[in-house]
């Protein structure tokens, strides 16, 4: 049997990669992809804990389903916002969009 910590370390690596991408990428869609990566890492942790803790109500898996749903909603609205940005600014690089900066 694979120890639980293996899954947790893998989730930590994927989450840190996602954090790095979300902080450094210029393209707004790449930032969204990094956020999806982070949400997936969290899901992996939820499901690993759901497997290794005593299974009474499968709370981890149910929570992972809700996370996936919210991630889908977030991707749809986020990409609609990116399309709106592109229509108004002709760019999706977030460091060139400084309308609300002073």
């Amino acid at each position: 049997m694979i120890p639980l910590s293996h899954y947790l370390v893998l989730g930590a690596i994927l989450f840190s990669l996602g954090v790095f991408g979300a902080l450094t990428r210029r393209n707004a869609i790449a930032i969204l992809m990094s956020i999806e990566l982070m949400l997936n890492a969290v899901n992996l942790n939820f499901i690993a804990f759901a497997r290794y803790l005593p299974q009474t109500l499968l709370q981890g898996q149910v929570f992972a389903i809700f996370v996936i749903t919210v991630a889908a909603a977030e991707a749809a609205v986020g990409l609609a916002i990116v399309l709106g940005l592109y229509r108004n600014f002709k760019t999706v690089n977030v460091d060139e969009i400084n309308l609300m900066k002073w």
Partner: protein, 163 residues
């Protein structure tokens, strides 16, 4: 080393490689395709964790839905053939420090805490149990999430529509 552990290492290395291409790759389309591979690897890990239903949901929603949406958005917003000069902003070093610090902290927390090597016995059938739980114990969050999905759908249509 058991077979299961070997499979875990192979799938984990594949997933981390694909995620690294997503985050560090210069070409945005290549990053999106690598994201598909990363999601597939994650689905394989879910199967290893005896969560078959979630593995299927992962493939359907992430691989079949979200990445296709991302690819459409990429094609609508960027000139794919053109080479962009920079894909990262000017706070790379600071962000790398934050990410590495977070990684060290998370790995310390997940290896020094509780040690679990053996899983408890599996429920006889996971997917029917999950379906029943969603409609009985978790009925209220289930309904709230469906309202959230409806609101997100309407909002996305209104935001993306041309006047």
């Amino acid at each position: 080393m058991t077979l299961q552990l070997a499979i875990f290492y192979v799938v984990a290395a594949f997933t981390v490689w694909a995620a690294a291409v997503v985050v560090l790759g210069k070409n945005i389309v290549r990053a999106a395709v690598a994201l598909i591979f990363s999601f597939c690897g994650m689905a394989a890990l879910y199967v290893l964790l005896d969560a078959e239903f979630l593995a299927a949901v992962q493939v359907l929603i992430y691989v079949g839905g979200i990445t296709i949406l991302l690819l459409f958005a990429i094609m609508l917003t960027s000139r794919i053939a053109s080479k962009t000069a920079r894909v990262v902003n000017d706070q790379v070093i600071l962000s790398a420090m934050v990410a590495v610090g977070l990684l060290v902290g998370l790995i310390y927390a997940s290896t020094s805490g509780l040690v679990m090597t053996a899983a408890p016995p599996l429920l006889p059938e996971t997917s029917p149990f999950l379906g029943r739980a969603l409609l009985t114990t978790y009925a209220l969050p289930f309904e709230v999430v469906s309202i959230l999905l409806l609101a997100a759908m309407v909002g996305a249509i209104i935001l993306a529509r041309k006047e």
